[in-house]
């Protein structure tokens, strides 16, 4: 029998749960269940984060977390229960609770069958050096950035994250899928008296973050946006850095590239499949195997992830599915089930937007008058069907004049439709960056974009 002590003994540099431990725990959980069919999901994560502000480390944390989620199925009834304890008595309890919920559930005539066994495509996502990163290494890395900022009389804040995770899925039809991976992120804001600059990078290997190089970029942006000017609200040509584009494109996933919202009539795609919904040349795919993304090779039902072409040359082509929505649509799951109980339905996990040929510098150089946006912040949906989003620029907004950065600008509020922004895109950058959103785990891989007539509706005071 697997025990908590086994799971807790993961060595530095290793996944928080081995394949053998995961198989043993899931087999035991399935064996404990008296339901007709049972599925189980095991997630374990060791995460460490060193956070700094005002040029000193102020928070520095590590946690070892694990969750087992059991879905019990009786006829066309289903119940889900989870636990963080993995001893035999806890496994018995979680299986019994799931079964009790299933027996009380009303019959669900749309309930799908469990996923059949299938071999996912191989995806190497685990970097031992990230899993082995120590508090001292993280402190030294961010320390160099803080010292560089302090030397220039600037104030730095940010966080360096390293994490090692394991996801395992099993069911009573014979599925067993296991995937370990690592994740590293460095994000940094440097403040001058009346300006700020920001960087953010996501990788599987923490050594590939180039922490000091990124910090230097944030310093350069902060110093370059001192004494910001102000432009009135209106429509401007913008050059959006990849982080700004990522914030916009990520909304497409939530607003309609998953089959549940499409089937419920809430998606911007509902009733428009096969129609042109955005500009010619715009291509959006979901591809966990894109080497720039941080994806996993299977979903929370154990179905291998497929590459799905969602928007081709501006035309709506597909949405992603889990087994429930696939059954309703009469198609096969694309391997995009979210974590149980999947209230949002299936979602794209690895959106990739097509790239162009220009460097960021070339996008700026080709702009007679416009605004360079480092990032957008606090973006929210104003009108779901129109993909209308509002938000603010933050930490590095610059005026472009005659193809050069002319100085910093006070931050602006925008109201824009994501699909219309993509329609008004004049050029895309050649390099795409991954952004993984920590609240969802979803990843977006996008280039910089140059967009005409981008609508700003307000200005703030800094």
């Amino acid at each position: 029998m697997s025990t908590p002590a086994t799971a807790g003994a993961a060595a530095l540099g290793a996944a928080p749960l081995t394949r053998e431990d995961a198989r043993g725990l899931l087999s035991e959980a399935l064996a404990m269940s008296a339901a007709e069919h049972t599925a189980a999901v095991l997630e374990a994560r060791d995460q460490s984060l060193t956070r700094f502000a005002n040029n000193e480390i102020h928070q520095n944390v590590t946690s070892r977390r694990q969750t087992l989620t059991v879905q019990a199925i009786v006829g066309r009834r289903s119940g889900i229960a989870s636990t963080t304890r993995f001893d035999s008595s806890a496994l018995r309890q979680v299986a019994d609770r799931a079964l009790a919920l299933a027996r009380l559930s009303p019959e669900d005539d749309r309930m799908p069958t469990l996923a059949p066994p299938a071999e996912p495509k191989a995806l190497a996502g685990f970097v031992p050096a990230t899993a082995a990163c120590t508090p001292e290494e993280r402190a030294a890395a961010v320390g160099a950035v803080m010292q560089a900022a302090r030397a220039r009389d600037l104030t730095s804040a940010g966080a360096l994250t390293t994490a090692a995770s394991a996801l395992a899925v099993a069911n009573t039809l014979g599925v067993f899928a296991y995937h370990p991976d690592t994740y590293a992120n460095f994000t940094c804001t440097v403040r001058a008296q009346d300006a700020s600059g920001w960087v953010d990078r996501h990788r599987r290997d923490w050594r590939a973050l180039d922490v000091l190089g990124l910090g230097t970029t944030a310093i350069r942006k902060a110093e370059g946006s001192r004494a910001p000017g102000e432009v009135p609200p209106g429509r401007y040509t913008v050059v959006l850095e990849p982080a700004a584009v990522a914030e916009l494109v990520a909304f497409l996933a939530w607003l309609g590239l998953g089959a549940q919202s499409e089937q419920e009539g809430r998606s911007f795609l509902s009733g428009r499949m096969g129609e042109r919904i955005t500009g010619a040349g715009v291509t959006v795919v979901d591809d966990a195997f894109d080497p720039r993304s941080l994806g996993r090779p299977f979903d929370y039902e154990g179905t291998p992830r497929r590459r799905v072409s969602l928007i081709e040359d501006g035309v709506a082509r597909a949405v992603v599915h889990d087994r429930r929505t696939a059954r309703a649509a009469g198609v096969e799951s694309t391997g995009h089930a979210t974590a149980p109980p999947a209230v949002e339905g299936p979602l794209p996990y690895d959106l990739v937007l097509g790239t162009g040929t220009a460097s960021l510098e070339e996008l700026i150089a080709s702009t007679a008058r416009g605004i360079l946006v480092t990032r957008f912040w606090y973006n929210r949906v104003v009108d779901a069907r129109r993909t209308l989003i509002t938000g603010m620029t933050r930490d590095g907004t610059f005026l472009i004049e005659d193809g050069r950065i002319a100085g910093g600008l006070r931050n602006l509020r925008f109201n824009e439709s994501v699909l219309e922004v993509l329609s008004r895109t004049e050029a895309a950058g050649r390099d795409a960056e991954p952004t993984q959103f920590d609240y969802s785990g979803n990843c977006v891989v996008v280039p910089a974009l140059k967009v005409r007539e981008f609508q700003f509706t307000g200005v703030t005071r800094y």
Partner: protein, 480 residues
């Protein structure tokens, strides 16, 4: 629990911690979601774990684990101290904590009926009937209802001798009807959006909301919104209902009064604040009718507890008094920097997270007006109800909100329904344009307040009443 806490504290002190605390948290939650009379989510979570926070050489370290045994407690305590030493290499000033009397106490959320004792069949039946009642309205695309319950039992122990046990129970319930017509999608929620109302309460909240009785009107309004005229773009008088005021308070008063934001601790993520320390006791934040308090003792609030996650007793403090900015939300680490003692606002999402300054219950004190009298007193304007969209800059100046529904006010009477209502403003200007607060006060729950790295989600509350604001720009986002 107690033994585990003692082992962790002893180990931390042996490793050199000048201060340490441990939280052992056992939690349980339940989600019941029904769409169109079908149960789409029946889920129960159970969790148990602990976190050790250690102060070594004037710097923090924290380590948490889901394995609640003595050996793991000692490993985490030692790891927290090692992390703190790594932090200390990059401290400019050692951290000093404001004093607090170490409490030995218990606290429990007062509830009438334990929501986990209510049969699941009754919960499903309630939502099946409520969603069925919404489906009866022609034009409804999706009729959704949900119930959520949390039961958290936690032990807080510190090296100063505190031993506090608390049981916090939260409940939530709500409906949402989605209507689809042509290219338009509109929705209406009851009693408010994003899952409904949440309180520190038991099943009695669900009974009081009477979801089934309110289902038909909720659905009818969603359908009516499809054919309602667009909210115009102009500057006008706005009356916000209590539910919308709740989020307005949360974003434009709650967050900017968090002292950790003011001091730059959130500069890279949640942001900073326009309420800088030089503004304390001087800034005219709002008009004289604006009075705001942080009250962790308020009945039914999601920010109500006996002690915060540093063992500081729950308190009621002024933030804005007669329009003047007079106070912050503080912690043991931040308060001494202003020569103050903590006012007890530190909370962590779970055992796996460190406590941060979080809103407790941020309450706008009620005014003398009835909503009917305020509408009758308004010649021309818009009544906006129930949040649909919210966005604010990282210092909490420039905001834009959208609401599910609005109604024209003409010559003192509530008129046509309006759709896609939005408004925008700059926080201190906006609150100075408030000329009336109503008496329809309610404490509204916000179950998903985000802050911190790693990001934490917290349940907070805002006491709010309908209020009137003059000269507000509305209809933004839908213009040319």
């Amino acid at each position: 629990m107690q033994e585990l806490a003692d082992r962790a504290l002893n180990a931390a002190q042996l490793e050199g911690a000048t201060y340490a605390d441990v939280r052992v948290v056992e939690s349980r939650s339940q989600l019941v979601e029904v769409k169109d009379r079908r149960a789409t989510a029946l889920m129960e979570d159970q969790g148990l774990g602990f976190g050790v926070r250690a102060l070594v050489d004037g710097a923090w370290g924290f380590a948490a684990s889901a394995h609640p045994d003595a050996a793991e407690a000692e490993r985490c305590a030692a790891l927290a101290c090692r992390i703190a030493r790594a932090s200390a290499r990059f401290r400019l000033q050692p951290i000093a904590l404001s004093p607090v009397a170490p409490a030995r106490a218990t606290y429990q959320t007062p509830i009438v009926r334990d929501p986990f004792e209510v049969p699941l069949a009754d919960k499903i039946d309630l939502l099946v009937r409520a969603t069925g009642a919404m489906q009866g309205e022609r034009g409804i695309a999706v009729a959704q209802g949900s119930l959520r319950f949390w039961d958290e039992r936690k032990l807080f122990a510190s090296s100063e001798g505190a031993r506090i046990e608390q049981r916090i129970v939260h409940s939530g319930a709500g409906l949402c009807a989605y209507a689809r017509g042509g290219d338009d999608l509109q929705w209406r929620s009851y009693p408010t959006s994003f899952g409904g109302q949440y309180e520190a309460a038991g099943w009695e909240l669900v009974e009081r909301l009477d979801l089934v009785a309110h289902a038909p009107e909720t659905a009818a309004t969603a359908v009516a919104l499809l054919s309602a005229p667009q909210c115009p773009a102009l500057a006008t008088t706005v009356i916000l209902d209590g539910a919308q005021m709740s989020l307005q308070i949360h974003e434009s008063c709650g967050h900017p009064t968090e002292l950790d934001r003011v001091l730059g601790h959130e500069a890279n993520y949640a942001g900073m604040s326009f309420l800088t320390t030089d503004q304390l006791h001087t800034l005219r934040y709002g008009s004289p009718v604006v009075n705001l308090v942080a009250d962790a003792t308020a009945p039914r609030g999601l920010g109500t507890f006996g002690f915060d996650d540093e063992g500081v007793p729950a308190q009621k403090v002024d933030l804005v008094r007669e329009g003047r900015f007079v106070g912050y939300l503080t912690s043991r680490e931040t308060a001494p920097l202003l020569g103050l003692a903590s006012n007890g606002t530190m909370r962590a999402e779970s055992w796996a997270h460190i406590p941060l300054i979080r809103m407790t219950n941020i309450n706008l004190e009620p005014g003398p007006w009835t909503l009917a009298a305020l509408i009758a007193d308004t010649d021309d304007g818009i009544l906006m109800a129930t949040n649909r969209s919210w966005s604010i800059d990282d210092r909490r100046y420039n905001f834009q909100f959208g609401t599910e529904a609005g109604w024209e006010i003409k010559r003192g009477k509530r008129g046509r329904l309006l759709k896609n209502c939005t408004y925008t403003g700059i926080t201190p200007q906006f609150w100075n344009q408030c000329d009336a607060v109503c008496d329809d006060w309610e404490i509204w729950g916000t179950p998903n307040c985000g802050k911190g790295q790693p990001s934490q989600s917290m349940r907070t509350a805002q006491g709010a009443a309908s209020a009137r604001f003059r000269g507000i720009q509305v209809g933004v986002g839908y213009g040319a």
